[in-house]
């Protein structure tokens, strides 16, 4: 393209008229999530809490190096990384199975940033920072499992999907990483990681599914 074909507006980009962008970190659910009650009135059957400001790193073994990756994970976290669909709690992180020879490291407050993990996994695994690429939704309440049954074909009954169970699956044609966290107030807690750009869509589907049970919506910085 000749320089004369460039619209003057792009030339002006070099100057002082460049639009000012805000790089503040915002949740993918910033617009969709409205704190408070939703759906049927009365005691909420489903509690939805978006977890914000987490650190998430994907760890994938390189060909033939799964053993070395597992050893590096043990050295870093003090516990074995999951080799089957499970979520393993460490002192300050959760290791979530995401596929054969790969797992996610979920933490907060910069305890396990990709820069800190990289040296330990050098040569054995490829790392990818997913902190701003996923939304994390925590689902609990008396009707949580009934609501999830509308979205998921996998059996979430406690006899099958106990605390620590995880699944790489799909909900509403959207890939999700689902795992059962520690019970809260005697009730099951299901955690859901979804791609940031699909989060709003899935959020609305979840609200539609949960509305009949009554929903309480919030967000938190606590994992």
């Amino acid at each position: 393209m000749s320089s004369s074909a460039i619209p003057y507006s792009t030339i002006r980009m070099e100057g002082a008229s460049v639009a000012e962008f805000s790089w503040d970190v915002r949740s993918p659910l910033d617009r969709a999530l409205i704190v408070g009650p939703y759906g049927a009135q009365g005691e909420a059957g489903v509690s939805l809490t978006e977890i914000r400001n987490f650190d998430l790193v994907q760890v994938m073994a390189r060909r033939g190096n799964a053993g070395e990756m597992m050893a590096a994970a043990k050295a870093r976290f003090g516990v074995a990384a999951p080799e089957t669909p499970r979520a393993v709690a460490t002192a300050d992180a959760t290791l979530i199975w995401s596929g054969p020879d790969q797992f996610l490291v979920l933490s907060k407050d910069g305890k396990h940033l990709i820069e800190a993990l990289a040296p330990g996994f050098a040569g054995s695994a490829s790392l990818s920072d997913q902190s701003h690429a996923r939304a994390l939704i925590s689902i609990s309440g008396e009707k949580a499992r009934a609501m999830l049954a509308k979205l998921s074909s996998i059996d979430l009954h406690p006899s099958v999907f106990a605390v620590g169970a995880a699944a790489a699956t799909s909900m509403d044609h959207t890939s999700v990483t689902l795992w059962r966290g520690k019970d809260r107030d005697g009730q099951a807690v299901f955690n859901l990681l979804v791609f940031a750009t699909f989060a709003e869509s899935l959020w609305h589907t979840i609200l539609d599914s949960a509305a009949e049970y009554g929903v309480t919506i919030g967000h938190s910085g606590d994992l």
Partner: protein
Amino acid sequence: MRITCPFCGERELGEFTYLGDAKPQRPAADAGEDAVYDYVYLRDNIAGVMSEHWYHGGGCRAWLKVTRNTLTHEISAVEAAAGAGAAKVGA
């Protein structure tokens, strides 16, 4: 139809994508035009037991080799395809 992923367990069909016949092998570089044509375009239309590649894209993102009867949809075996994961399967 459900497929039992060797990594995830039994899952609904919607999580998987069908690729096709798992039998064709890429010919050697010097195999000639006919062999390449055969590999790229020619497929048997099998009525019966067939070895197929399926992708678990809605789950663990592993490639699978599924032995399925195309007449009954009965699945007799599912294994990880070559290259799935990093260590469990050879090249």
